[in-house]
């Protein structure tokens, strides 16, 4: 177990380091930051001075070390376009993204798991067919398009729900639903297949032969074993939701990290891009790490050799 945690942890750290190198290089490969900051009117002496101030006259590995050192402290410099430090912008936006991902995660579980069970228990019934359609559509339809169509329907035609920004509970309904649809579809399909497999196993047949009611068989015996793979998948879903929110945040004008990231990219605002990409990658890597360790704890058969 300890060995597994150490191997998995070092993997996560290596991935983070690779990400930080990519982010660090993103500034250097896209042009000279000093020239970019100075603009076209700067003279040669000013240019040299700025380069020295920014530490750009040192060799690349040294610059990377400095970058990494300040990145660990959350210091990415000042945003070129918003006049504030990238860290402040990031800290301000994190709660919005976490909230949205959290609500979407709850929706995924409370709808995905029961609907998956229903599909499996009443196999080939109308519930199963509708569930299958819902799952297939959720995976095939682009989320940005679903978002816009729902805005048209519930915001425009019916006028029932707000369509942009953060606010009361009603503001969460549309974005969280769009964000969770694909993962809900995944959880549904997995619950269904896992439940079908368990319902076919010997011990469930035995429970039936014993004369237990169908309800008892399903909820007391089958369900417990059927949800184990779903739990693992759910953890990975949460990690995906945290980052899948870029598109949803953009469509619903949600003030989160994803939207900030896209703003940074389109305006070539490097401190903002570096801060948001590293933060998103950090969340993702940490969540998958936690899920893997928890899973290995629950299921001792899964170990790295």
């Amino acid at each position: 177990m300890h060995r597994f945690i150490i191997v998995r942890l070092s993997q996560a750290i290596i991935t983070l380091l690779v990400l930080s190198v990519a982010v660090f290089l993103s500034v250097h490969l896209t042009g000279d930051p000093a020239a970019f900051l100075l603009g076209p009117d700067g003279g040669q002496t000013e240019y040299e001075q700025l380069k020295k101030n920014l530490g750009l006259d040192k060799p690349l590995p040294v610059q990377y070390a400095v970058f990494l050192g300040s990145a660990v402290q959350g210091d990415f410099g000042k945003s070129h376009t918003m006049g504030r430090s990238a860290r402040d912008l990031l800290v301000e936006r994190i709660p919005a993204t976490l909230e949205l991902a959290g609500v979407a995660f709850v929706l995924t579980i409370i709808f995905g798991v029961p609907l998956g069970i229903l599909s499996a228990v009443k196999r080939n019934s109308i519930y199963d067919q509708v569930g299958k359609f819902f799952a297939v559509a959720g995976i095939a339809a682009p989320s940005f398009w679903i978002a816009i169509m729902l805005i048209l329907l519930f915001g425009g035609i019916l006028g029932w729900l707000p369509t942009h920004g953060r606010g009361g509970i009603e503001h969460y309904i549309l974005p969280a639903f769009v964000l969770s649809w694909a993962s809900m579809a995944g959880v549904m399909r997995l619950t269904r297949s896992s439940m079908l497999e368990v319902l076919d196993s010997e011990y469930v047949k035995f429970a039936r032969i014993k004369g237990l009611s169908e309800k008892m068989v399903i909820y007391k015996h089958a369900l417990k074993n059927a949800v184990i793979p779903v739990l693992t998948f759910s953890g990975l879903t949460l990690a995906g939701l945290l980052n899948g929110s870029v598109v949803v945040e953009v469509v619903f004008a949600w003030p989160g990290i994803g939207r900030l990231m896209l703003q940074g990219i389109s305006q070539r605002d490097f401190p903002v891009v570096q801060a948001t990409v590293l933060a998103a990658g950090f969340f993702y890597i940490c969540t998958t790490l936690l899920v893997d360790i928890l899973y290995a704890y629950v299921n001792p058969r899964i170990r790295y050799e």
Partner: protein, 292 residues
């Protein structure tokens, strides 16, 4: 004699595909949708009734069916929706074909190498594939676009970077089991070099897997390309690409609803078709993957 039987077993397996395919019901609706997509992509200049980027303010904002010269209506600049959708098919097919082709080629090559070579080469390729699979695709694409800037070749690179790992992983697994078979040993005893064994003897046996992984990936690649175009990270605005068309229709959604509706329907239909077709291919070619 024994090794000969194993070697011909490979041919039997290839010949067995059409037999199984004949028994299974063909997924006609997906095949028709895919056919329409490919015809639109291949013959866009012949099929499109109008210029997809020709601005004509006099005929702007026509709803579908309002004027039969423009059967699917026009956008806010008076560009014909039908023509833009047809050219959008071309864009989608081109980008996914090149990106998926690149990803499949690189992934398969690395998978073959990782499968036959032990030691650090295998470890390095496998770990790189794990890392690539473990990262959200949009984030990877955004890093690529930040480093290299927006543009069609960078979209292709971003998509290829996210798909190669699936090929590498699947092909590596296949090679690991195939290389233990008798006909490979026989070839080795006959003095065939390792690259030749990989190319002539092992690679042909991975083609089934390759086809299944490819057909299961097309839908995702089209979706990813559309999402990147929608976010403005790919082609320049105004270009006939479905993702861009949805994005252009977004601001006037209450007024000119068909601008976002139609390209989105096109994306959904095409992705559905490829997903169903991929599932069907997997059931036919690789029944052991059915549960995966």
């Amino acid at each position: 004699m024994a090794s000969l039987n194993v070697a011909t077993g490979r041919i039997d397996r290839l010949l067995a595909i059409p037999k199984q395919a004949r028994q299974a019901r063909l997924p006609w609706i997906p095949i028709i949708i895919m056919g329409i997509l490919l015809i639109c992509a291949g013959f866009a200049p012949l099929l499109a009734p109008h210029d997809p980027i020709g601005i004509n303010m006099l005929d702007a904002k026509l709803a579908p069916g309002e004027n039969l010269v423009y059967p699917l209506g026009t956008d806010i600049l008076g560009r014909d929706m039908l023509s833009r959708l047809i050219y959008g098919a071309q864009t989608a097919v081109f980008i996914s074909l090149v990106a998926l082709g690149t990803g499949a080629f690189v992934g398969t090559t690395l998978g073959l190498i990782a499968g036959i070579k032990d030691g650090w080469v295998d470890i390095f390729i496998s770990r790189a594939a794990d890392a690539a699979l473990g990262f959200p695709t949009i984030l990877v694409a955004m890093i690529v676009v930040t480093i290299l800037g927006a543009g069609i070749e960078n979209i292709i690179l971003a998509v290829a970077l996210t798909v190669w790992a699936r090929f590498a992983r699947m092909i590596r697994g296949e090679v690991l089991s195939i290389r233990e078979l008798d006909f490979v040993t026989a070839a080795r005893i006959a003095g065939v070099s390792t690259p030749m064994i990989l190319l002539r003897h092992i690679f042909p046996n991975t083609i089934n897997t390759l086809m299944v992984v490819t057909s299961l990936s097309v839908g995702q690649v089209i979706l990813l390309e559309a999402s990147l175009s929608f976010l403005g990270l790919g082609l320049s605005p105004g270009h006939p690409a479905w993702g861009i068309m949805v994005s252009e229709g977004r601001s006037g959604i209450l007024d000119v609803w068909w601008l976002a509706l139609l390209p989105g329907l096109a994306i959904t239909a095409v992705v559905l078709a490829f997903n169903f077709f991929g599932d069907w291919m997997r059931d036919i070619l690789d029944p052991k993957m059915r549960r995966a």
